[in-house]
């Protein structure tokens, strides 16, 4: 196993170009588990923790551009007010030890359907910035995940950053697991309301081969809010609409039976989470 420790982003990209099979490591919360348990033995490793550029965030054309190496702890502390949905999800990641090391860049790189950051990124229409020595490109997160632990990233690319708008309205996230910490989601759900564009964004986690947007549920709820003029009236959403929203979210999922739960349970729980998250967010919007 060869260990590379680039001191800059350009050096990291050159190493990745020369060794497309190399495994990048940042917080190590996924990669080290595989190495320690001998599930995988990468031939080349690129340590990205010396690349200062990856730990920075700032504004980029009206969006927040957040370096792939920003930890969950920093996201919560420094960006929790601007990205409440992602911050709620970040607080459910592992434990303090894991949040001090783990990064959204790493979550995207692993591309697990259960990654906690993915549903809020989907709900807020985030972009993933991929880079190589031949340039960089920004991929909508809804096109980024291509299968279980598979993504649109090429072998010569690294994840530079993700881009996300500051919240345009209330955001929520909820996750089902066997305890309140150190849990891989049985299923999870994120919602983002955008009062200006009158949009409802959603993201489903851990209930399909990839994280999923519940497009029909979004369109249904946008229709209800528009038809009944609820964005302006700011009154309650009717019970039947809430129930239908939950059903459509459950229908968008493509869960399987596995060690963490059954497909039927996941669908049921998602309908509950969707209704609950929407109600929390809508109540906040009306306040």
């Amino acid at each position: 196993m060869e260990f590379h420790q680039p001191g800059s982003w350009s050096e990291a990209l050159q190493i990745k170009a020369a060794h497309p099979e190399a495994t990048p490591i940042a917080g190590g919360t996924d990669v080290m588990v595989e190495i320690n348990l001998d599930h995988r033995r990468p031939s080349e490793i690129i340590d990205l923790t010396r690349v200062r550029e990856l730990t920075e965030w700032g504004m980029d054309d009206g969006m927040l551009r957040i370096g792939a190496g920003v930890t969950y702890t920093r996201l919560i502390d420094e960006l929790g007010d601007r990205l409440p949905g992602l911050a709620i999800a970040s607080r459910t990641v592992g434990s303090p030890q894991i949040r001090n090391r783990g990064t959204v860049g790493g979550n995207l790189g692993t591309a697990s359907p259960a990654g906690d950051a993915h549903p809020p990124l989907l709900a807020a229409d985030a972009l993933v910035e991929l880079a190589s020595t031949s340039g960089s490109r920004r991929v909508p997160v809804r096109e980024f995940f291509t299968g279980p632990k598979r993504s649109a990233m090429r072998g010569d690319e690294l994840i530079a950053a993700f881009l996300i708008e500051s919240a345009q309205g209330p955001q929520q996230f909820s996750k089902v697991g066997t305890r309140n910490a150190m849990v891989i989601a049985v299923c999870s759900f994120a919602i983002a309301l955008d009062g200006g564009r009158r949009r409802v964004g959603t993201g489903i986690g851990s209930a399909g081969p990839t994280p999923i947007r519940a497009t029909e549920a979004e369109e249904f709820m946008q229709g209800v809010l528009e038809d009944e003029n609820l964005w302006d009236r700011q009154t309650e959403v009717g019970d039947s609409a809430l129930t239908r929203f939950g059903e459509l979210v459950a229908l968008a999922a493509r869960p399987i039976d596995d060690v963490r739960g059954t497909a039927a349970y996941r669908r049921h729980a998602l309908a509950v989470l969707a209704r609950r998250c929407f109600t929390w967010a809508w109540d906040e919007f009306r306040r």
Binding site: F3, G28, V33, I35, N36, L37, I45, P96, Q97, M182
Partner: protein, 147 residues
């Protein structure tokens, strides 16, 4: 490869390290610091908790090379600390395997939150698993250390 880092204020060096070794392995097997415990090797149990450049981390999830040039503080570096004493006095130890990790994690909590509530303690120690005590006396010990 060689790893040079500062451990508990002392410059240390490990030679001919396999690139896949974790910081935990380096601490225990190269430096003879057996306080940090090796249990789950996947960040689930917190028994290997140390400070890396001042941040509480699971040393099993840090690749040895990532600690190059960094500052590590292990349970040995907290010898005689008030948290250690509180764990003794409260009887927060049974088999003792999880205790080093819990003391480091408690030390980190009290730096950030000098007088934590029960809920804050539970959250801060949620990544440290104890299979003996049922946690009641551990929480007592944290309150005792915070006094």
């Amino acid at each position: 490869m060689n790893i040079r880092c500062t451990v508990n204020g002392e410059a240390r060096e490990a030679r001919d390290v396999w690139a896949g070794e974790s910081l935990l392995y380096v601490l225990r097997e190269r430096f003879g610091l057996y306080g940090s415990k090796n249990a789950c090797e996947q960040g689930e149990c917190g028994s290997c908790s140390v400070y890396l450049d001042g941040a509480l981390v699971c040393s099993c999830l840090v690749l040895g090379g990532q600690a190059n040039g960094r500052e590590v503080v292990t349970i040995e570096g907290l010898h005689g600390d008030k948290v250690q004493q509180a764990f003794v006095e409260a009887g927060a130890v049974q088999c003792g395997f999880c205790t080093p990790g819990l003391i480091v994690a408690t030390h980190d909590l009290l730096r950030r939150v000098p007088h934590p509530t029960d809920a804050q303690i539970r959250e801060a120690l949620s990544g440290n698993i104890c299979r003996c005590t049922g946690y009641a006396k551990i929480i007592d010990a944290v309150h005792m250390a915070a006094r």
